[in-house]
């Protein structure tokens, strides 16, 4: 009798399982891979979604939709009206923000649902698109795989070579809220085809400040992340009669190792950051004659000077625009806390007056296969 009762109870409980309302069959799902946010000339918010289509009958393998709505969650309803399955946001890989929207302040508030809804994937890459976002969503060509997958590869591999940053949605949250750092996200643009165009630097609130080229991004990454992925740098070699020649003196190298120390101090009412960078490099290209056996020390000093000059330009540019993508504020907080506390809410202002001194030490470890 007892056994029967137990089995009956277990059966009853198990049978209630299909009552689970969150079950979803894959064929009923539309997995959004890329979400776009933009604003049109009439200041109406536009939302885009790109999802793959898994059907043998379909000729096109991915569908792109754009709707007008007031918020991301509202836009989901509109998407559900259009696509065959229920739109799911758990697999989002790319998050694109258009140029016009980036110029408005407080666009970051639109992202609320991404952090509030636990099902959203927060590992999606943040992208600034220099143009209207619909261009990006309707760029499908026969030579490329599905738009979202193509862009994902494009961004990830570009980041591997350090010509752009890789800022996830979660990381953007940190960069926006962190007082001692301003955000930097991947920038895409369409020239003939859509291409990676370095890094977009944003202001404290998330508005567009300036763009870095892929070349400059490598320098930013070295300061921000240290050595991650491949870092290859190409520099001009000072030449007395350079400017007119077609083939100029140029030297390229890749960074094998990198260590940096930041010394922070507060003197005369402003912050001082002394960055000491030690680079271990290997020459990968030199298109002019040079006696490396004799003069490798001279080559080292030339590279040091060139790199420092690059950094000087980069820092000046950022200080002028009052942005701190390098996160010097974190150092200020860690080592000069009392002074930091006074300026933490206007850190970018304080940073624009700070004195940053970058000293590099280049150690040439390799010279390649030929002399």
């Amino acid at each position: 009798m007892r056994k029967v009762l137990n089995i009956g109870l277990a059966l009853f409980l198990l049978l209630s399982l299909p009552g689970c309302m969150d079950r979803i069959d894959l064929e009923d799902a539309t997995l959004t891979l890329m979400i776009g946010l933009d604003v049109n000339e009439k200041n109406e918010l536009l939302f885009y979604a790109s999802s793959p289509v898994f059907s043998r009958e379909a000729q096109v393998k991915s569908e792109e939709n754009g709707v007008k709505a007031h918020s991301l969650r509202e836009s989901r309803q509109r998407f559900d009206e259009m696509v065959s399955g229920v739109t799911l946001s758990g697999k989002v890989q790319l998050f694109v923000v258009g140029r016009r929207l980036l110029q408005t302040t407080d666009w970051f508030q639109l992202m609320d649902v991404v952090y509030r809804d636990a099902r959203f994937s927060v590992n999606a890459r943040m992208i600034a698109y220099d143009g209207p976002v619909h261009e990006l969503f309707h760029m499908q060509t026969k030579a490329k795989p599905r738009v979202a997958l193509h862009l994902l590869k494009l961004v990830d591999t570009a980041n591997r070579r350090n010509i752009t940053v890789k800022t996830s949605v979660q990381e953007l949250h940190r960069q926006i809220y962190e007082k001692g750092l301003t955000p930097s996200i991947t920038k895409l643009n369409k020239v003939k085809e859509v291409q990676v165009e370095g890094t977009a630097l944003l202001t404290e609130k998330g508005g567009f400040a300036t763009a870095l080229t892929g070349r400059e991004t490598a320098f930013l990454q070295m300061l921000l992340q240290g050595k991650r992925g491949e870092i290859s740098i190409s520099l001009p070699y000072p030449d007395s009669d350079g400017a007119e020649k077609t083939i100029q003196r140029r030297i390229s190298f890749f960074v094998k190792g990198l260590s940096k120390k930041v010394k922070t101090s507060f003197v005369d009412g402003r912050f001082h950051f002394n960055v000491d960078m030690k680079l271990r490099v290997s020459i990968s290209e030199r298109i002019f004659p040079f006696d490396m056996d004799e003069d490798y020390k001279k080559m080292g000093t030339v590279l040091e000077k060139e790199i420092q000059a690059e950094y000087q330009d980069l820092l000046l540019k950022c200080q002028k625009l009052k942005i701190d993508p390098f996160g010097f504020g974190l150092h200020a907080r860690a080592y000069e806390y009392d002074e930091w506390k006074k300026v933490q809410n206007e850190w970018t202002q304080a940073f624009s007056q700070a004195k940053v001194n970058i000293v590099t030490h280049v150690d040439i470890k390799g010279n390649g296969n030929i002399k």
Binding site: N123, Q170, R174, Y337
Partner: protein
């Protein structure tokens, strides 16, 4: 006479029962609470909180060793007389109900929030009831084995968290002692709350096979929990900026959302499923001792009848009422306040009582 000989537990089971009861809800919210109160120096409050809880644990063990074959139920009735003793024991029952229900509803709410937002809560409750019934009906020893097993099954977690190492910004932790010692002491109350759970030794002590290891066991359990809290908090502080961490309800869960493998994207879902086991080792002991105590109060040896009634009541209540988000926080706070009394004040009072009231158990008198 060994009353509980049929159900003795080993030292390992004793350690993991207590450790399991300690690590529960706190692990999800402690980093944020500490960031709120103390800032990035909060991890030091954990160590201070650990010291306090170890101290009280040792006092408790000492008090219990006076009557090594008795649970708190019998001790209280011996010391305070039958009726007053029963009244106090009844308060302990209420505490156990409060604790188990808080954990239980928290687990349901978490599942509802993170995994199954559309599923009605009572279905999740039903699903939790089955394993709860299976484990609890067999008593302390089985529960001990269960806690130990769950502990071994969670050992992969720190390894996966370590893959996050490159996302850490250890600069967040500096400067140490940024606002001096005062806020660190202010953080201690919320850390000692997360060590609540060792008071289960009130019940577990007589079940322990080798009593000479009781002190060692309870210190080990506390230390294990401290290490869990410390590592989770440090990782959260390293990952989240001190300016943003207070924005999240469950920073620890958010941490798992970042982990991504080539073959597995949403590790947080996997973690949450395993975390339910961790939560169960917090809630189930309290459930067991609720029904264990009520049975003893009514003079019954078999606690299973009371268990069935208790579980049935949970299902009925979950049909009618599920606490809202803010009720839940009130519930957790209430447990914190009551826990402070039961786990920290009560053992000290008890230790004083057994020192001064010299009553001998009946068996020994004879």
């Amino acid at each position: 006479m060994k009353k509980y000989a049929y159900n003795e537990i080993t030292v390992m089971q004793y350690i993991f029962l207590i450790h399991g009861a300690q690590v529960g809800i706190g692990v999800l919210t402690l980093p944020r609470d500490l960031a709120n109160i103390v800032g990035t120096d909060g991890w030091m409050s954990i160590i201070l909180g650990w010291a306090v809880s170890v101290m009280v644990s040792l006092i408790l063990t000492k008090a219990m060793s006076r009557y090594p074959e008795m649970t708190i139920i019998e001790i209280l009735q011996l010391l305070l007389g039958k009726w007053l003793g029963k009244a106090v024991v009844f308060l302990i029952v209420l505490y156990c109900i409060l604790a188990s229900m808080t954990v239980f509803t928290y687990a349901v709410a978490l599942i509802n929030n993170w995994l199954l937002p559309q599923t009605p809560a009572y279905i999740v409750v039903l699903l939790f009831i089955i394993p709860a019934h299976q484990v609890i009906q067999s008593g302390v020893r089985v529960l001990g084995r269960y806690s130990e097993l769950v502990f071994y099954f969670t050992l992969w977690m720190p390894l996966v968290l370590l893959t996050m190492w490159r996302n850490m910004h250890w600069l967040h932790l500096l400067p140490v002692l940024r606002e001096g010692w005062a806020p660190i002491f202010q953080g201690v109350p919320s850390t000692i709350l997360s060590f609540v759970g060792f008071e289960l030794s009130f019940f577990l002590y007589p079940f322990l096979q080798k009593k000479q290891y009781a002190a060692l066991g309870i210190v080990t359990a506390n230390t294990l929990s401290m290490l869990v809290y410390l590592s989770v908090t440090l990782f959260c502080f390293g990952f989240y900026s001190p300016d943003e961490i207070t924005q999240f309800t469950w920073p620890t869960l958010g941490l798992w959302k970042i982990v991504e493998f080539r073959f597995l994207e949403r590790v947080d879902i996997l973690f949450l499923a395993s975390y339910m086991f961790i939560l169960s080792t917090t809630g189930l002991p309290y459930m067991l001792f609720t029904v264990f105590t009520t049975s003893q109060l009514l003079g019954k040896q078999d606690h299973r009848k009371h268990l069935y009634i208790f579980l049935f009541l949970i299902i009925v209540v979950s049909f009618i009422y599920m606490p809202s988000f803010s009720d839940m926080q009130k519930l957790v706070k209430l447990w914190g306040k009551v826990g402070l009394v039961v786990a920290y004040a009560f053992p000290v009072v008890l230790a004083a009582a057994v020192m001064f009231i010299r009553k001998k158990p009946k068996e020994q008198e004879a």
